[in-house]
């Protein structure tokens, strides 16, 4: 029915057509609601809430006081100590074995074993961490590595998503992602399997 009405249109004609259709029917509306911060959940202990929620979504967290501690914990993980190709934007703890600056094509990161990345802040209510794409030489490193570790300051944990978006402010051109737990699927009979297409496990290090 619609297809007939829109036949023989000019290139770019559909934009005007759609807008005209929409403007042809004025719909009364109330204003855009503002969220009242007083009605939103607050956690007494945001660090604990974050850790518990992260565990619930399949991630692991560690309270650490120094970059050395991050290294020690990672070296105690078999999948890390046996990994060849490691990308890191946190060289204080882990020196990368892959020089991201020299990688011109993201496809070359296909055999990446680990990625150690920095998170800007974390969210208590859902165990998510915000990663700013501007800190990533290649955004694929977050998704293609077999294992992912994120380092974020435990002083930078907000209660909920409202505070999270307020904290990001006005987005610049580019990319950003909330990561909450490892990649997962339950598409086969609702059985939860960690490690769908992205990382198999997620380690989060909470620094001072």
């Amino acid at each position: 029915m619609i297809a007939e009405a829109f036949e023989n249109r000019e290139p770019q004609g559909s934009k005007q057509l759609i807008l005209d259709r929409l403007r042809g029917r004025a719909v009364p509306s109330d204003g855009l609601p503002e969220v009242d911060p007083g009605r939103l959940i607050k956690f007494d202990d945001r660090i604990r809430q974050f850790q518990e929620t992260l565990e619930f979504v399949g991630g692991e967290s560690h309270l650490v006081d120094s970059p050395e501690q991050v290294r020690e914990i990672l070296e105690g993980i078999d999948a890390f100590s046996s990994a060849d190709r490691i990308a890191s934007t946190y060289p204080e703890a882990i020196e990368p074995t892959v020089d991201l600056a020299k990688v011109s094509d993201p496809h070359l990161l296909s055999s990446l074993g680990w990625t150690i990345a920095r998170g800007e802040f974390a969210i208590a209510e859902n165990g998510a961490i915000w990663i700013d794409g501007a800190t990533l030489p290649h955004r694929v490193m977050i998704f293609i590595a077999q294992y992912l570790a994120i380092v974020v300051s435990r002083s930078q944990i907000v209660d909920h998503m409202h505070d999270a978006y307020a904290r990001i402010g006005a987005p610049r051109p580019g990319f950003g992602v909330f990561v909450s737990g490892p990649s997962k699927t339950a598409d086969i009979e609702q059985s939860l399997v960690l490690g769908a297409h992205g990382c198999r496990k997620l380690q989060v290090f909470l620094t001072p």
């Binding site: 619609i2 297809a3 829109f6 770019q12 559909s14 934009k15 057509l17 759609i18 259709r21 929409l22 029917r25 719909v27 009364p28 509306s29 109330d30 855009l32 609601p33 969220v35 009242d36 009605r39 939103l40 959940i41 929620t53 619930f56 993201p106 496809h107 296909s110 859902n126 165990g127 998510a128 290649h138 955004r139 977050i142 998704f143 293609i144 909920h160 998503m161 409202h162 978006y165 307020a166 990001i168 006005a170 987005p171 051109p173 990319f175 950003g176 992602v177 909330f178 909450s180 737990g181 990649s183 997962k184 699927t185 598409d187 086969i188 609702q190 399997v193 769908a196 297409h197 992205g198």
Partner: protein, 469 residues
Amino acid sequence: MSIALPIVDHPQAAKDFVNNVPRSHWHDDSLWFVRTKRDRQAQSLPEWEYLRETASAIKRHTIANLPDYLQEFEANAIRMGAVVHWAADAAEHNEIVLGLLRKNKTHRIIKSKSMLTEECGLNEFLIDNGIDVVDTDLGERIVQLRGETPSHIVLPAIHIKKEEVGETFHQHLGTRKGEADPQVLTEAARGHLRGKFLEGEVGITGVNFGIAETGGIVVCTNEGNADLGVSLPRIHIACMGIEKLVPRFENLAVFTRLLARSATGQPITSYTSHFHGPRDENSELHIVLVDNGRSRIRDSDTFRDALNCIRCGACMNTCPVYRRSGGHSYQATVPGPIGSVLGPTKDMKAHKSLPYACSLCGSCTDVCPVKIPLHHQLLAWRSELVGKRLLAWNKRVGMKAASWLFRHPRLFFTAGYTARVALKYLPKSLTHNRLNEWAIDRDLPDPPKQSFRAWYAQNRNVAKPEQPE
């Protein structure tokens, strides 16, 4: 799908599924499990109802002011470096995507889940035009390999048993025959799809939210397939229904809190990716804005709120009809309560039985995170269908006869008397034959000895007694 579908009779289409009792119960239990997880998440937030109200108000405001927000979105998306295309219908959407692929001489597509592209029949269209399309969401890949369509908008393979997935993977991916361990099967799919990701020349995704204020788009997944799929190739095509907009960046907070909690009972999806413009100066981000009937739904005061939908699937997980009859019985891109509202807006005649695939229990309305009055809309569809004379003839004749009977007290009395006597003496083979569909799975109660009016006259000392029995 855009192609004209035959008229679907929901009870007929559901028959095989419902008659397989163990399977129907298994399906029912799987979805109720998801509904229970949703409840736990919803109850964990004291502001849950406040969030639903706010989300609904934001969406209603956005849909009312849609032309302004669309223009704001387009201007900001261009400012961020994206290319914006407008498609009035499914055919134009498909042509735009094919045009982009041809222009870039590309043939291998990696795709993440998008109900919009399902609605437009994009996969079939591209495959007919010699393009290799790989669905990367595990559930969608399973149904793609089996030559089926998704039976649920969030859990596309919810109707398939792990043994059947094992058989499909044995045939297509070479897994061991008889393998049915979800862990092993998922690992096999991971390996198989890694290769496809690396070969892909263009990544196609849907859009969960577009932001008018910033010109950005948000894509939510648990598997990380959309994110991986657009971080490797140079070109990202994002297909987006015009109703997916939110006005401001901060509005995302409300919707990212509601979406995964309502859908699968998670506090948020594993990955919530925000794209503002293309990856770098050598890359391209194309956003295709699609109407395909949405502006017409917006015209209707009764059905406009259906455009609030964020495609979480909560209404299907809770629907007693959906849970027992399976998604394919709706024979529409979107099944369940919201699909039964949207289906007839596309083609009233083809989907005329869907508003009746509903007991009007109202559970869908109770769980909808954006407060679409789903069961009211389904009821409203029924009166539209009656008005358009699209009701099945047996229902139409039956209703007319009942209406006439109720308007004639004497006849009503006689009919009641006759029925009471007849039911006492008629053999069951006559009352429970195949013509009486109602009685196929039900038994009639014993006929009462007297009518209610007679009983009332006898027991409640009324001045004017009814005619004697």
